[in-house]
């Protein structure tokens, strides 16, 4: 079976309808224990004290903020090349989730930064690129809302998404590009064989579980919201036929 078969809205609705309850259950079974483990069962860090518990919220949100934009980039590209409506609607459905994750990363970063760095905000490369990415998310959502004609809105928002993806890449690699700035290197790099994690196992394990939980939350919300967008499109078509 080809992945392109899911570009058919009827097939997508059928499959996502079956998967959604199971995915929701799995998300609850992962996210709730992960946050409980991180908040209640982890010790204080020697340097950061209890503020280290913010990592279980901040890092998964930041991880999603960047990767949701990447997913929007891919789905927008598919729309521009292959004109699959489900793809454009999935990008539209993902944007508010990405905006909320970016906002969570910015807020939790600020309240973590204040006691650790002595400031809520600095114009650090990573922080600044995250703020710009948040503005792109808002701009993307506003552009969809501002244009009535669905295909035209999908075209223009896809182009905006392409431009904004530069800041998503900068957000991901800002700590590698620039040596200056207060933000530390990435806390959750991909593990390669023979490499040690940069975070102690006592924090690393609940952090990984929390990232998986947030990822499942994103998938649940993405499927739910994409289904809504497909239904809204059908509603628009039926109303146009009636008129």
């Amino acid at each position: 079976m080809s992945i392109w078969e899911f570009a058919n809205p009827v097939r997508f609705m059928r499959l996502s309808g079956r998967v959604l309850p199971w995915l929701t259950g799995l998300m609850i079974l992962t996210l709730v224990p992960a946050l409980y483990w991180g908040f209640f069962l982890t010790p204080d860090d020697a340097r950061q004290g209890a503020t280290v518990k913010i990592i279980f919220v901040h890092v998964p949100a930041a991880f999603l903020a960047i990767n949701i934009y990447f997913i929007m980039f891919v789905t927008s590209l598919i729309w521009l090349i292959r004109r699959h409506h489900v793809s454009a609607l999935a990008a539209k459905a993902a944007a508010p989730i990405g905006a909320v994750m970016t906002l969570i990363a910015l807020i939790t970063g600020a309240v973590w930064g204040q006691p650790m760095w002595g400031t809520w905000w600095v114009w650090d490369p990573r922080l600044t690129s995250f703020l710009i990415m948040f503005i792109f998310y808002i701009g993307y959502i506003a552009l969809w809302a501002a244009i009535d004609e669905a295909d035209k809105a999908a075209d223009l928002t896809s182009i905006l998404c392409m431009i904004g993806s530069v800041f998503a890449i900068v957000s991901r690699y800002a700590v590698n590009f620039w040596s200056q700035g207060l933000h530390q290197g990435t806390s959750a790099p991909l593990i390669r064989p023979g490499e040690e994690t940069q975070v102690s196992a006592v924090f690393w394990q609940p952090l990984m579980l929390s990232i998986i939980g947030f990822l499942l939350l994103f998938l649940v919300l993405l499927l739910l919201r994409t289904r809504t967008e497909i239904r809204n499109r059908r509603i628009t078509a039926l109303r146009a036929r009636e008129a």
Binding site: A50, T51, H58, V100, I104, V111, I235
Partner: protein
């Protein structure tokens, strides 16, 4: 029972509260709009079937 967060209780609790409020808000908005669109579409499909 909350763990002892010492002098950092405020930032830690604020971070978790912000996350819970924002995610809860997103979930509620998503569920409401899903319910609304499902009901509207069902009504329109029913009307269309009656007309056919």
């Amino acid at each position: 029972m909350l763990p002892d967060l010492g002098k950092y209780a405020l930032p830690v609790l604020a971070a978790y509260a912000a996350m819970i409020v924002l995610i809860f808000g997103l979930v509620i908005v998503s569920l409401k709009s899903a319910k609304s669109s499902k009901e509207t579409l069902a009504k329109l499909e029913e009307k269309r079937n009656q007309n056919d």
